[in-house]
């Protein structure tokens, strides 16, 4: 019997990492810590200038998120590289009551200002470090907003690519206020911005249905992705009903991040197509430990139901490595249980209060686990053959307000 290799690749990777850490520590220790602390406070006004504002009663909240380059200029350190994204907030309190801002509403595990300064201390002189600490402390958003006054400042959150989605919760003796924001961040262009949605279909191509007609239209064909040359790919297991902005808001609220446009880099031979094109938008969720969990690819269809836009969604669940570094080094595989991605998606959007209505459709015979099928890339899969239809909402829907369309009962294993 062949023995294990002396050092398996994963272990070798650990050793390499430890060596690199030691080497990095040595370089950092030997570097001269004399750098002065320089920043550009003027740029901060550009960030504030494009703030978006919402008002509830006598309370007004404005917010803006500096992009990566702006942040480096404003704070003098490359914060995004450490996964930290500052969010600028201003609260105008025209009520008669003292307001308390819950920083945790913006990010449950926000960074404290002095923590951010301390994380970036390397290479700076002692006086520069003190100056930096004080600047971060002074630029932080305070929790207290006295009656009739306004306060502004930065909250240091975990960075995510694309549109920044967060809440701002404020509490007074008499009232609670909750604001939901979706803020565009400069320096990042999501893939869906490269698509001219109004030119995807001509007026004649659109088909608008009522609910019954929609069910029939969905049932008339099996929904598969295809290779560029038209060979069958993987089953599409989710249909989304909502206009573009509501879909985006619902997905952001559920923790799906936008992705940059990589259409030019796609390998046309292995890519999945629908309606003769690559996806119109793609999104990712990830675990806390940064291991990627799911990718969602969305295509706008020519179907409409009661005037609302219908999208086809393919969810890919990557498995095989427990973190992102291992995925890059060793690659990952697609979960052969294609229903898993669908089931996760449905729960995820429901728990995120993004699901207004749902329906299930039994589309085709199941592909059982003991006789998996293969797509044009030779990717194996099995499925129960059900399609989930999700009406998404841009505004939060409480968990028990989600309604069900009485089509087929949800899939269940005996």
């Amino acid at each position: 019997m062949r023995s294990e290799p002396a050092i398996n690749p994963l272990r070798r990777f650990d050793l390499t990492r430890q060596f690199l850490q030691l080497a990095a520590a040595f370089v950092l220790l030997s570097a001269c810590a004399t750098q002065p602390f320089q920043y550009d406070s003027a740029l901060s006004s550009a960030v504030k200038g494009r703030a978006i504002t919402e008002t509830t009663g006598e309370v007004t909240v404005s917010t803006s998120v500096p992009g990566e380059e702006e942040t480096t200029s404003i704070f003098g350190v490359p914060m995004y590289e450490r996964g930290i994204q500052p969010v600028w907030i201003e609260v105008v309190n025209n009520s008669d009551d003292f307001l308390r801002l819950a920083l945790s509403s913006i990010d449950r595990e926000y960074f404290s200002p002095i923590e951010v300064a301390y994380l970036h201390r390397k290479g700076f002189s002692k006086s520069a470090r003190a100056e930096m600490e004080r600047r971060f402390y002074d630029s932080a958003m305070p929790r207290s907003i006295p009656a009739g006054e306004s306060r502004s400042g930065y909250v240091f959150t975990h960075a995510n690519p694309g549109t920044k989605s967060f809440n701002v919760d404020l509490y007074s003796n008499a009232n609670d206020y909750s604001f939901a924001f979706f803020v565009t961040v400069p320096g990042f262009i999501p893939d869906h911005q490269a698509v001219s949605f109004k030119d995807l279909y001509s007026e004649e191509e659109f088909r608008n249905y009522d609910l019954t007609g929609f069910r029939t239209a969905l049932s008339e064909q099996q929904w598969f992705t295809k290779s560029k040359s038209g060979q069958p790919g993987l089953p599409v297991s989710v249909v989304i009903v909502a206009n573009g902005l509501d879909t985006l808001k619902a997905l952001l609220r559920a923790g799906w991040y936008e992705q940059p446009d990589t259409r030019d880099l796609v390998d046309a031979q292995t890519a999945h197509y629908m309606f003769g094109r690559l996806p119109d938008a793609s999104f990712r969720t990830r675990r806390d430990d940064k291991s990627e969990r799911n990718e969602l690819y969305v295509w706008q269809t020519p179907l409409r139901v009661n005037g609302e836009v219908v999208w086809m969604g393919r969810i890919v669940h990557f498995i095989g490595q427990r973190n992102q570094i291992r995925q890059v080094l060793f690659g990952a595989r697609i979960d052969p249980n294609v229903d898993e991605g669908r089931n996760y998606f449905m729960q995820n959007i429901w728990y995120s209060q993004s699901l207004e209505q749902l329906a299930w459709l039994e589309m085709s015979d199941p592909v059982p686990i003991d006789e998996p099928a293969r797509d044009f890339n030779d990717t194996e899969y099995f499925t129960d053959g059900y399609l989930a239809v999700a009406w998404l909402s841009g505004e939060p829907v409480s968990l028990i307000e989600t309604t069900r369309v009485d089509w087929d009962s949800q899939p269940h294993r005996k």
């Binding site: 002095i114 923590e115 301390y118 675990r287 427990r322 595989r333 003991d370 890339n377």
Partner: protein, 427 residues
């Protein structure tokens, strides 16, 4: 049989006669193994509500390995066994995202840390053993379903929700299940004998405020000679409420110092990994080290929040009163005395307010109040802790009433014992 041996067996069959080939090929397919019934079921807990009866149990590291033939704990996966009995007259669904928003699928749990051979598309990832052992999500009226959910690993006490969705209703259960394997600090505390021969001291509101404001400002060293971090927390609630509240809010228990925990700490320190249950150093109040420590790791061992608590002999409205200290570790630094130590965020009030929000947003807080007692230390005249780290503070302690059962954030009460420091420290 692990995958490598299976593969080798698969190669061997090519040279054999046809009848034997078919037998061996059958053996190569991953047949579901009989589920090992270990002692974890003896630790099962059952709850019932609205015609739904849920039993939950959590196998420890060794049991998980025996059940699934893989060291799941080492891969960061913890199987949770559930039995759902539907005694209502409508079908219900179980939602794994409610138990763990980042649960693992059966195939994923079966194939974590793949080697390069299995990464090649030819090797099947279909694993019936994990798939068959998985809990079916749909339970018809009168039916019973049982099986595993593959969740992210939490050592010590496993806390999770089980949400069951009916046609027009949600029934939610919360479980706290201790899992053997960690030597957690509070297992060794004899709660009834911390104050031998003393009756608990039941206090009125004014008496309590007077005593906690007059109490020592800070923790001390072992000899009680030097003052350290400020005692900026007072917690009201029993041991049960305390644990349920902090675990629900995402805090981890702490291991006692022993050979295994020291080794894990060292590995985490050198490798920069996350050892969530790392022992914490002893700080002293009432001439003894903390009774309980909780911690909340962020990205690595250097960045975490630490919280130490001491049970007092005081009671307020029949609830035990605790003193506590919280700090946000923002990195590690070298010292002459202890070689290395955690650098704390000098703005200790910021960390105190973080805890208030953390408990409130985790639905673990009933009410809160502020009292004096720490003594003010302005930013330009900071005080130092035992390892020489500076800190500044408005001088307040926060009083937190913790709850074992969920409390909506909108229902959290404020007791106006002293004016809120947030109203005073306005820049």
């Amino acid at each position: 049989m692990n995958m490598r041996i299976q593969t080798i067996v698969c190669f061997a069959v090519h040279g054999l006669a046809a009848s034997i080939i078919s037998m061996l090929i059958t053996a190569c397919a991953s047949t579901p193994a009989p589920i090992y019934q270990g002692t974890y079921l003896d630790r099962a807990q059952t709850q019932e509500d609205g015609g739904i009866r849920v039993t939950a149990a959590v196998p420890d590291a060794e049991e998980s390995k025996r059940i699934f033939g893989k060291p799941l704990y080492k891969l960061g996966i913890q199987p949770v066994w559930l039995k759902i009995e539907n005694r209502s007259d409508e079908p219900v669904s179980f939602l794994p995202v409610g138990l763990d928003p980042a649960y693992f699928s059966a195939t994923e749990a079966a194939s974590l840390d793949m080697n390069s051979r299995r990464l090649q598309q030819g090797v099947s990832l279909v694993n019936e053993r994990f798939f068959e052992a998985e809990l079916p999500l749909y339970v018809s009226p009168g039916e019973v379903q049982s099986g595993f959910i593959y969740s992210a690993l939490d050592e010590g006490t496993k806390s999770f929700n089980v949400d069951i969705l009916g046609d027009q209703s949600i029934v939610s259960f919360t479980f706290f299940i201790p899992v053997p394997g960690l030597r957690v600090d509070h297992y060794t505390v004899d709660w009834n004998n911390l104050y031998p021969g003393q009756e608990p001291n039941d206090l009125s509101r004014d008496e309590l405020i007077h005593i906690i404001e007059a109490a020592i400002c800070c923790v001390t060293d072992k000899k009680g000679e030097n003052l350290g971090d400020p005692l900026n927390l007072v917690i009201i609630g029993g041991v049960h409420e305390l644990y349920n509240a902090f675990i629900r809010a995402g805090w981890d228990e702490t291991e006692t110092i022993n050979r295994s925990s020291l080794w894990k700490t060292f590995k985490s320190f050198v490798g920069g990994g996350e050892y969530r249950y790392s022992p914490v150093s002893a700080l002293y109040v009432f001439d003894r080290p903390q009774d309980v420590a909780f911690q909340k790791a962020r990205s690595n061992i250097h960045e975490r929040n630490h919280l130490r608590l001491w049970l007092t002999n005081m009671r307020y409205q029949d609830e035990p009163v605790w003193f506590g200290q919280i700090s946000r570790d923002i990195g590690v630094r070298f010292t002459r005395k202890t070689i290395t130590t955690h650098k704390i965020d000098p703005n200790v009030d910021e960390t105190r307010e973080y805890l208030l929000e953390n408990l409130a947003y985790s639905q673990a807080l009933e009410k809160f109040a502020y009292v004096y007692g720490v003594g003010e230390a302005p930013i330009d005249q900071p005080r130092g802790n035992l390892t020489g780290d500076p800190y500044f503070t408005d001088g307040y302690r926060i009083v937190l009433w913790v709850s074992a059962t969920p409390v909506d954030i909108a229902d959290v009460d404020v007791e106006m014992w002293r004016p809120s420091p947030l109203r005073l420290s306005i820049p």
